[in-house]
């Protein structure tokens, strides 16, 4: 399995409309491909729940809300950018500009997708990777950057 099976251009937004963390979660769950979801509300609820346990704002203007959920059929990622910068209770207190929303099914059908998410998570720690994402302004650019992992 390759990462481009998890991220599709339709699931990317370079200009989120949301003005808050809560709105952004909803907006981004909406971006996920319908085929990946069984129950959108359940998926959103589980991601919100994880967010309550501790902010997923990892600093550097990045957030990675994620959740394991029965509402998810197939692992999928949505990527969103926002010009405004959203308050996310981040580790470094800075507003969030780039959001990776990761939805994973509760029951693991193999762990291929987990391995990809692991690579993605590790990549988040790479400054060049983060800067190139911050600089990207089309859906295609973003998908290209992420596909190179």
């Amino acid at each position: 399995m390759e990462i481009d099976t998890l991220v599709q251009e339709d699931a990317v937004s370079v200009a989120l409309k949301s003005t808050s963390r809560a709105e952004a979660l909803e907006e981004m769950v909406d971006l996920l491909p319908a085929s990946a979801l069984q129950d959108k509300n359940q998926c959103l609820e589980d991601i919100q729940k994880r967010e309550q346990e501790g902010s997923t704002g990892i600093g550097f203007g990045f957030a990675i809300p994620h959740g394991k959920s029965n509402g998810v059929q197939q692992a999928a990622i949505a990527i969103g950018k926002t010009e405004e910068g959203l308050e996310w209770e981040s580790l470094d207190g800075k507003p969030v500009e780039v959001i990776f929303l990761i939805a994973v099914p509760e029951e693991n059908a193999g762990d291929d997708h987990l391995k990809i998410l692991q690579q993605l998570s590790r990549k988040m720690m790479d400054e060049t990777f983060r800067d190139s994402l911050k600089g990207a302004d089309t859906k295609k650019q973003i998908v290209d950057i992420v596909s190179k992992i």
Partner: protein
């Protein structure tokens, strides 16, 4: 310098790996050699070997869950949240360079090492009460045994059972009898596993053996001349006793020479002896005595108020689910069938299934009040309830006894009273809807009304009493 590390987070999807990556990067910049084990949803990767640990100058644990630490005995151990490794891996490593990290020791260093990270963890600790955390640890390891045992017994009873004077019996030598025995074996592990992992949560690995041995003894009345063991409540007691005794022995100062054999030899042996002997010589006699007193008490009630008897039996059946109260009530009802009073067993048969059905229903309806593990156990509890296996509710009760036990008792009392009022009779010493299917119940409609109302009372009361789950760990 060489370090080893472990990272772990609640979901095991992202933070585990980000923390690991950042530790690796920060170490590389500082010229430190580091190997980081990740405990994520894929399982353990890059596992630390004994040699790795042996040759390391320090251990950094960046985790939001409990990580087993006994393998790091004698090493400087720094425990932080995964977010600390993401945010300030540099600083963490600098603490090792400046020799600011306290040495971890099963014996006493544990407290010291913890103080350092107290600030970081203070918030989390407040959120979750340690007693609850220990219980939940025991329960999560017990659940598979309850589910395997309960479902195998349920399947074999419903497909291979025949109603007889001695209850639902499965003819010996049949295939279903083998399945039933398999299930019974799983059930036998239930209480020892519960006790063992409660103790392990308190005292780490040295607590495991004393807890399991104590749990086994607590659950087997023959050790102390009682007809029934102390059930899961006895198991919880044994687990906490074993855990705190082991922890207490750990804190005793011993000469350096003896230290290495403390965790594998001295602590387990002394703690096992202490817990086992406490049960056999101190708690055993009162438990046996209590059973006798209860039996006499019930016999004294014959001819008295039927409804009161139904309420009392319902409460006893659901209080300890397989422990002494449950056993006394059950044997009393079973004995009265042969004396021509099957109505008493009727009340018991209704109360037998309301704890698992009620808690199962509660876990389906009120998801926020239950951990994920508990919700899974709840589904299995429904299946067990249908065939009259009260034990199905044990995982849910053991995780939160002070709120769940009153709920299931209220439901059991309601069911017992309604069944008595409705003149339900059961001619087979077994409970749950399955008995009606086998045609052993008189007044089937009232029997089911009793079960349904008892189930609903249990579920609603559980919802009122239980608090929402704080943290899924």
């Amino acid at each position: 310098m060489k370090l080893v590390g472990i990272t772990s987070c609640p979901n095991g999807i992202a933070h585990t790996y980000m923390a690991a990556e950042n530790l690796n990067k920060a170490a590389k910049e500082k010229g430190i050699d580091i190997k980081v084990e990740t405990q994520g949803s894929i399982g353990v990767e890059n596992e630390l070997t004994e040699e790795d640990i042996e040759s390391a100058d320090g251990v950094v644990i960046a985790a939001d869950k409990t990580v087993e630490k006994s393998r790091f005995e004698g090493k400087p151990v720094l425990e932080v949240a995964s977010s600390d490794a993401i945010r300030r891996a540099d600083e963490l490593l600098a603490q090792f360079e400046n020799k600011e990290v306290a040495t971890y020791s099963e014996r006493s260093g544990k407290e010291k090492a913890k103080e350092k990270i107290e600030e970081d963890k203070a918030k989390k600790k407040k959120k979750q009460n340690p007693v609850y955390r220990h219980l939940m640890n025991g329960v999560s390891y017990m659940i598979p045994f309850v589910v395997v045992g309960g479902l195998l017994i349920a399947i074999s009873l419903s497909l291979g059972g025949e109603p007889t004077e001695d209850g639902l019996a499965i003819p010996e030598g049949t295939f279903w009898s083998a399945i039933n025995q398999l299930g019974g074996t799983a059930f036998n592990f239930m209480v020892p596993i519960l006790a063992g992992f409660i103790a392990m949560s308190i005292a780490d690995r040295p607590g495991l053996a004393p807890g399991m041995i104590g749990g086994f003894i607590a659950n087997d009345g023959s050790f102390y001349g009682s007809e029934a063991g102390a059930g899961f409540i006895g198991g919880i007691l044994a687990g906490f006793l074993a855990g705190y005794i082991a922890k207490w022995i750990k804190e005793v100062k011993v000469p350096e020479m003896i230290q290495p054999i403390m965790p594998i030899l001295i602590i387990p042996i002394l703690a096992s002896l202490a817990v086992g002997l406490i049960f056999i010589y101190v708690l055993g006699a009162p438990i046996a005595g209590l059973m006798e007193a209860m039996t006499n008490g019930l016999e004294g009630m014959e001819g008295g108020s039927r409804i009161l008897l139904g309420i009392i039996l319902g409460a006893m059946i659901s209080f300890d689910m397989g422990g002494p109260f449950n056993k006394v009530a059950f044997l009393f009802g079973a004995a009265l069938i042969t004396q021509g009073q099957p109505e008493v067993m009727g009340a018991i048969a209704a109360a037998i299934c309301t704890p698992p059905l009620g808690m199962g229903l509660a876990s389906l309806l009120f998801k926020k009040k239950f951990e994920k593990d508990e919700r899974e156990a709840g589904k299995a509890a429904v299946a067990m309830g249908l065939v009259g296996i009260t034990e199905g509710a044990i995982p849910l009760a053991a995780a939160d006894p002070f709120r769940v036990i009153p709920s299931i008792m209220a439901g059991g009392m309601t069911a017992g009273a309604i069944a008595m009022l409705g003149g339900v009779a059961d001619h087979v010493p077994h409970g749950g809807p399955v008995v009606a299917v086998f045609g052993a119940i008189d007044n089937v409609i009232m029997f089911f009304i009793a079960i349904v109302i008892g189930t609903i009372v249990t579920a609603l009361l559980a919802n009122v009493l239980k608090k929402p789950v704080v943290e899924g760990s």
